[in-house]
Structures are given as structure tokens and as C-alpha cells.
């Protein structure tokens, strides 16, 4: 076993060697511009791009022509939301999203608010899921778009996407989902799920960084977008810019591998995740799962270790890469807004750790991580005045803290 261990696969993933292999020729002998229509260099590049388009479409139940290549999910989210808002501005000015969305969605919505659009940020329930009745009630005749993520990047919960898709269809509203954490990990089908637009990125599915895609439905309804980048009119006018051919080939290969191996892989990862959870819950008291485990990504576990601050915990397990919802680990010095939206108190948000298992993790690593976690939490609880007080029976919520 090699240290450090990478358990942060929601942040990014290692590129699969098979993906690297597939990409390499497109840096070298097949370096052509896919838009060069009059020589073989261009034709080879175009052929590779079209193959990748098909591989992506197959993974999500779309057709090739519905895949638009971008630089990644942030761009896909921006293009989907701003592109729809602009294109359908005459029909309405209202967008609905959820409080636990990624910043690439939330901040895009905030930008539109400044431009005069109205945005509803749906709260989520304690389990992390959107309330469907609340969604239904929020839709008005001015609503043009609902954007709700497929799976959450922190707590790993899967939103009721097919139900949301159905409601949007009934109401004649477009439905966009940020599919970054779900595609390639759980079965996603844009037809069955009633999705009109979906953001995808390569680097979360063992592909390269800097390349992604946006699924844009072509039939019933035919979704139109206002381009957000002016230029040569690539990607059927929706996204100008010379295509990143090696990246696109990598994204395509990454999708093809997921398509073949997802069923088995998710079973394996879920087995390891469940083992980790059980071991931590058995060996440690006062640990809490964030987000429902019933509708959950197979490789995610988000747990709060009460009375132990997240950054100090990360410091103790410095040969393991994970993330924390603690304020000290965030750029804003605020605890996770996702956990806050679930109603998790700031005190517990500070103690949360996100484990993201991936393709290259082994059972031996899970064992090591579990043991290191248990040992470190115990050590830090020895140091924690809160743990001592809780053990003495003090109700911490009733204490008058000298906040500063």
C-alpha cells in the first residue's frame, strides 16, 4: 500500500491509464483541428470527436447530436442556465434552483438576478432532498427553467430527478441538472429522467481536467440556447472555440469505460463505503451521517465526528486526502453551506469529513483509513473540552459561550 491515500474523488479523480492511452495519439500524429474540412488531419480529428460524442451519448441515453463540448461543468452550467435564460426571456424570467447546488449554479443564478431575473432557491429537507410539493408550488407561468443537481458533491445524496423531470414536463418548464457527480457512477438516462439539459465533466470520471459536455435535448422539446461565447460557431453555434480534441477523446473513453464497468464498480465501492461506515460507527460514539443514505451515491460518505474540529482531524490523518466541511478548511472561513441547508448546526458542520472513494482505492486502504480515523478522533476527543463536558452530562446547547 502506498501513502498518501486518495479518498477525495468528489474533488477530482486520477486519469485512468486507458484514457491516457486513448488520448496520446491526438497530441501527436493526429493533431488536426476538427473544424478543418479540407484535409485528412481535420477529418481524423473530426472522426475522433464524433466517436467521443457517441460514447458520451450512449452512457446517458442521449443521441450524439445532443452533446455539446465545453471546457468543463462550470462552463456547461453557465451555458445551460444563462443560455436558456436569454433565449427564453420573452416567455418568462423565473428560474428555480436548490440551496445545496454547486457554486457554479448558484452564482450563475445570482448573476441573472442582478440582470433582472427572479430566482427561487428551494430549501432542502433534513435528508438533503428537495421537497417535490414545494417545487410544484414554486413553478409559476413565468418559470422558464428548473435546475437541480443529480447528486450532491458534499453529501452524495441523489435528488428525485425523474420526479422533478416529470413535474417540469407537466408544467412545460425546461429542466437542467448538474450531472457531474452522478454520471458514470449511477445509471443516468436523460429520456427516463426527463432531463432537458445536463452538465457533465471528464475529470470526475477518470478523464482529464478542462473538458466537459452539455447535453441539450433536440426533440420534445427542442431546447435552444443563446451562445455565451462568440466566435467560429462551433458545436452548432452553441459553443464557439476550437475543440479540445485530446480532451474530448479522453472524455469519450472515460464514458465508455464507465458504461462497461459502472455496475460492477459501484457495487465494489459501495461495499467498501459501507464497511468504512460500519467500522467508524462501531468503534466511535457520537458520529452522525449527513444526508440520507437511502438515495445516495455508492462511493460517498459524509460524517460528522462530534466534538472534534475538522481541520485538526485532517491534520491528524495527514497521509489521507479527504475534505472537511469545517470553516477552517474553506476559503470563506464559513462552515459548509450545504450542511447548513440540511439544518446541520454549525457545531457539527465544523466536525464533518467527506470520504469519496474511487476506482483505484482498495480494501486495504479502507482498512487503513478507518483505523487512522478512529485513532485520531479518539486522540482529539481526549483533547476536547466539549467531549469532556458532554461525558459529564452537560447540555452544550444550554452553555453560555463566550463567543468572539
Amino acid at each position: 500500500m502506498k501513502l498518501p491515500i486518495y479518498f477525495d474523488n468528489h474533488a477530482t479523480t486520477r486519469v485512468d491509464p486507458r484514457v491516457v492511452e486513448a488520448m496520446l495519439p491526438y497530441f501527436g500524429e493526429h493533431f488536426g483541428n476538427a473544424a478543418s474540412r479540407n484535409h485528412s488531419f481535420g477529418w481524423e480529428a473530426e472522426e475522433a470527436v464524433e466517436k467521443a460524442r457517441k460514447q458520451i451519448a450512449e452512457l446517458v441515453g442521449a443521441t450524439s447530436k445532443e452533446i455539446v463540448f465545453t471546457s468543463g461543468a462550470t462552463e456547461s452550467n453557465n451555458l445551460a442556465i444563462k443560455g436558456v435564460a436569454e433565449m427564453y426571456a420573452e416567455r418568462g424570467n423565473h428560474i428555480i434552483t436548490a440551496a445545496t447546488e454547486h457554486k457554479a449554479v448558484l452564482d450563475t443564478c445570482k448573476r441573472l438576478e442582478k440582470e433582472g431575473y427572479r430566482v427561487t432557491y428551494l430549501p432542502v429537507q433534513g435528508n438533503g432532498l428537495v421537497d417535490l410539493d414545494m417545487l410544484r408550488e414554486a413553478i409559476t407561468d413565468k418559470t422558464i427553467l428548473v435546475t437541480v443537481m443529480y447528486a450532491n458533491n458534499e453529501i452524495g445524496v441523489l435528488q428525485p430527478i425523474a420526479e422533478i423531470g416529470k413535474i417540469c414536463k407537466e408544467k412545460g418548464v425546461l429542466f437542467h441538472t448538474d450531472g457531474v457527480q452522478a454520471v458514470g457512477k449511477v445509471p443516468v438516462n436523460v429520456v427516463k429522467d426527463g432531463i432537458d439539459l445536463m452538465s457533465i465533466t471528464a475529470h470526475k470520471i477518470y478523464g482529464p481536467k478542462g473538458v466537459g459536455a452539455l447535453y441539450v435535448r433536440r426533440k420534445s422539446p427542442r431546447v435552444q440556447l443563446t451562445a455565451q461565447m462568440d466566435g467560429g460557431g462551433h458545436e452548432r453555434g452553441m459553443r464557439s472555440g476550437t475543440l479540445n480534441v485530446p480532451g474530448i477523446v479522453g472524455l469519450g473513453e472515460a464514458c465508455a469505460i464507465c458504461n462497461r464497468e459502472m455496475a460492477e464498480e459501484s457495487k465494489r465501492l459501495q461495499g467498501m463505503r459501507d464497511y468504512l461506515r460500519k467500522k467508524l460507527e462501531t468503534e466511535l460514539d457520537e458520529v452522525f451521517i449527513n444526508g440520507t443514505m437511502e438515495h445516495h451515491l455508492p462511493h460517498n460518505l459524509n460524517m460528522s465526528f462530534a466534538y472534534v474540529e475538522g481541520e485538526s482531524l485532517l491534520m491528524g490523518i495527514n497521509d489521507i486526502a479527504v475534505s472537511s466541511g469545517s470553516a477552517c478548511t474553506s476559503a470563506t472561513l464559513e462552515p459548509s453551506y450545504v450542511l447548513k441547508a440540511l439544518g446541520v448546526g454549525d457545531d457539527l458542520a465544523h466536525t464533518s469529513i467527506r470520504f469519496g472513494l474511487g476506482r483505484f482505492n482498495t480494501q486495504e486502504e479502507v482498512e487503513y483509513v478507518a483505523n487512522r480515523m478512529i485513532e485520531t478522533v479518539r486522540k482529539l476527543r481526549e483533547l476536547s473540552p466539549l467531549y469532556e463536558m458532554a461525558k459529564e452530562g452537560v447540555d452544550l446547547s444550554k452553555v453560555q459561550w463566550a463567543a468572539h
Binding site: 485538526s312 466539549l386 459561550w401 463566550a402
Partner: protein, 136 residues
Amino acid sequence: MAYSNKVLDHYNNPRNVGSLDKNKANVGTGMVGAPECGDVMKLQIEVNEQSGIIEEAKFKTFGCGSAIASSSLATEWLKGKTVDQALHIKNTDIVNELSLPPVKIHCSVLAEDAIKAAINDYKKKQGTRSESAVAQ
């Protein structure tokens, strides 16, 4: 973020972890911070009432590594000082000793507050005791 070697040393080998009997007249307890803010420090001193010298200091801290290191260092510095000398420990001394980066200065402020709170508690107890002694 990289931690300084001194922070790592205090984190890995915290000095003077534990609790003193908070009901004793010569023990001062300071507890500062709040769980919602992500750090709580409890710092205690045991004072020799004759000499006014701090003979024992203990801490427990919920917080990041720098908070743990700041409080651990504070207990080291407190031992052997008189109560009045201890009041001169400044957060900037802790920042310098541990090479804390700007985002962690807050941890040193908390440690200084904890020292002051513990000393206040001790002085309050001593005050009440001498008052009750007078009353008798």
C-alpha cells in the same frame, strides 16, 4: 496549507493536556470560544497562594491545529510565572513563536483570552474568599 514545525510538534505532542479541579480555590478556569465558531479553549491554572506562582497549567481545546498548538504553548509559558507576569503574555508572542499565518492569528487571540479568563476566575475566587474571611 503547510503548518510550521512548532505547530506540528505541539499538535503531535500536546503539553499539559487535562483538567484541574475547578472547585478548588486556587484553581482558575478560563473557557473561551464557542462550538458554532469551530473553537473552544479551556485553560486552567493552579496557583500557589503564598508565592502567587502558577505551579500547574492544563488545557483542552476543540479547534484547528493552530488553536491546539496555541493553547498547548500557553500552558508551557504559564507554568512558573506569577499571575501578574502571566497577564503580560500577548497573542503576538504566540504568533511569533509558532509562526502562525494571518488566518490563524485568531487562534492566538483566543489563547490570550483564555489566559486572561483563567486569571480573572482565579482572582475572583481569591477576592470572594478574602471577603468571606473578613465577614467571619
